[in-house]
Subunit: 409 residues, 2 copies
């Protein structure tokens, strides 16, 4: 009983037994079983069609030994591939005198299009001035520490990390299980630093999903995904086909937002609430028309409206691929940051913002640097968590994630 998918029928069991994910037979079975390939030129979970659930986890490395890190990445690679195929992280075996090789909480569940995406934080390369793994010279300039942005209220226990794993699946238990099993394989070398769930609910008619603010979110995509997302030819070999991930945990003052009249919400966003159309227009997918003025010669979409400031081209920034999720952590006590400075038990809910880009310095950092100062939406949002990670290029069978980084250095 080594296969989750084995529960679903003999075909899945045979596939798991064959142990390969690249044959034609496997590819067709994969499509049928709702799996996403782990191996490939890029890591999965970046341009993969977005799954409905995410569990994002960041880890701190506790070992001082380079070989421990490599051993962990080997184990992570093998387990991530197995998990993506709907199998247990390790074969279960039948020895009751040891801890279960797989916690079994996802046993019997479908693969649910699980993707596992690994990222390397600045701390893998250098931490507290210490070059623990002889990797400092390999730190890419794109992986410069994020600056402190205006309004940041980052919680240390929800920020940073030497490594990250983004697990996305169409089932929250499958996403949790992936992080859990990978964390178990890292007990000797790393410890969990923070973790955050997210979800996104898509209308059945294929229309743009709405975020917690009740506005359509994701109407615009980068014009050229390849150019925006993937590190270019000038990148070091281990980052070729890779991407940089920025994560931000953004709490929304939903109680404040919900007391705000629709017209002000729309002015803030620069779009109409229900249709998603740019302000003053009728259709969600019409061009923003940022140069439109009203009869008093004021811009229809305000200078500090969210859509104007978030528009990469308008601000001379590179595009980002947004792949965020809503989050709902229940409620806790909070003092709002804006008038009327309400205090009380409010939702700890909002956006687990995740984006990918070729170079954060000319993309997220530049774009959000301006938004953090001027975006009208800031009065309803607080960034409480953050991270920046280099997601290496994809893995081929027989390789481990990031192998070219360690072999080069």
């Amino acid at each position: 009983m080594t296969s989750r998918r084995g529960f679903l029928g003999a075909a899945g069991g045979l596939l798991a037994a064959a142990g390969t994910s690249i044959s034609a037979r496997a590819a067709s079975a994969r499509a049928a079983a709702g799996t996403e390939a782990f191996f490939g030129p890029h890591q999965a979970g970046i341009v993969t069609p977005q799954q409905s659930h995410c569990f994002f986890a960041a880890f701190d490395l506790t070992t001082e030994k380079r070989d421990d890190v490599i051993a962990m990445l080997v184990a992570w690679t093998n387990a991530a591939n197995r998990l993506s195929e709907g199998r247990t992280a390790l074969p279960l075996g039948d020895d009751p005198r040891i801890p279960a090789p797989d916690a079994a909480d996802a046993l019997g569940l479908a693969p649910a299009r699980l993707t596992v995406t690994f990222g390397f934080g600045p701390g893998l390369f250098i931490k507290d001035g210490k070059d623990r793994y002889s990797l400092a010279a390999s730190r890419p300039p794109e992986l410069a520490d994020l600056p402190r942005f205006n309004g940041d209220q980052l919680i240390a226990a929800k920020t940073g990390g030497d490594l990250c794993i983004q697990a996305c699946a169409d089932d929250p238990q499958v996403a949790f299980h992936a992080i859990r099993e990978l964390a178990r394989l890292s007990y000797d070398s790393a410890e969990l630093r923070w973790a955050q769930t997210g979800f996104i609910s898509k209308p059945a008619d294929g229309s743009t999903p709405r975020n917690m603010m009740g506005f359509k979110d994701g109407t615009q995509h980068p014009a050229d995904i390849d150019k925006s997302v993937w590190a270019g030819d000038s990148a070091p070999a281990w980052m070729r086909g890779g991407s940089y991930l920025v994560v931000r945990r953004i709490r929304m003052a939903l109680e404040h937002w919900d007391r705000t009249k629709v017209s002000f919400q729309e002015e803030t966003m620069g779009r109409h609430k229900y249709s998603g159309a740019p302000l003053g227009l009728k259709n969600e997918f019409e061009p923003l028309g940022l140069d439109r003025n009203d009869r008093d010669e004021n811009p229809v979409i305000a200078e500090n409206a969210h859509v104007r400031l978030a528009n990469a081209a308008e601000n001379g920034c590179a595009d980002i691929l947004r792949r965020g999720y809503s989050y709902n952590d229940g409620a806790n006590f909070v003092a709002e940051r804006w008038p009327p400075w309400r205090q009380g038990t409010e939702y700890d809910a909002g956006l687990l913002f995740i984006c990918f880009q070729a170079d954060p310095r000319t993309a997220f950092v530049k774009l959000f640097g301006k938004m953090a100062k001027f975006d009208m939406l800031n009065q309803f949002t607080t960034h409480t968590g953050s991270g920046l990670f280099a997601c290496p290029g994809g893995v081929q069978p027989g390789e481990y994630i990031g192998q070219r980084l360690f072999e080069k250095a």
Copy 2:
């Protein structure tokens, strides 16, 4: 644009416009659209087949006026019915000069079998010795405050409440949205006290779901649901067809559990991990065989095994209907309560235990009172949140939830 379901097609829009949920036409459309009826002899969300997501919220009443409470319950009833039908909580209208009548975060999503279940906590009847709404005399004896159980580590901000709402749906955004809209309708009379998400992932083959511990959970059901769940004929009129809800937020020390050998996990549970069969047996659905001894005349299923102590009949207790969810709140710092007393960043994950019963005094309180003292599983679990609520009988069109309580008193 007053209907979420309107987005899904003209038929849904027409139905919403008709504004009735009890015609034959509506009933058949309901089945097609994945809706659960709000009106009926019992509240929905108790014996309703379990949905995949839950958002549970508890509220404190802030008003001193009985009429405010009634007005809120009327508004809640109307909105809950609309939401259950996949409509917005209130008609959206088209006035941009007011806050949105519905936050619109679920606009375009299917009804997702949403159920909204209301409960009345002890504080509705009497609080701090004060009979705020002239209801003290109507407090049912079944609604006696829960005792302090062995090992309780209840967090005040995750415990209690004068009222509760359990929103369950096959979509986490739809469940969140229901609580959000109902909370908005209570701004003048109540405030959010605590809230907790939950989810359950069911194997596609219909087999028993597993909990976070990787064991099948829910193999046994009450023999007589009607007798176990619903308040009997001796109950006051407003509780006839109603039930008592106990909620417990149970954090699991998953890192400790995952380091425990399978044989000890199985001894603790009294069942085999992978098959779910009672210890020493082969089939999940075989009787527990609690009187079976091994060759040394020791019981096969230990005296303090979870399944033995959780077995109502064995302990002279009434059955409970368990309707719990797993929860995953990420990770935070914790000091484990048992050897080796690990401290660090660990999952804040476990079980949002919810159960329904005719009388908690002879059911949950008696059953868990013994388990809290003796269950081997306690070394892996900590109860951090708790609540007890009387869920009134079902509502008929034209009524509001709990109406017979207020009209009687």
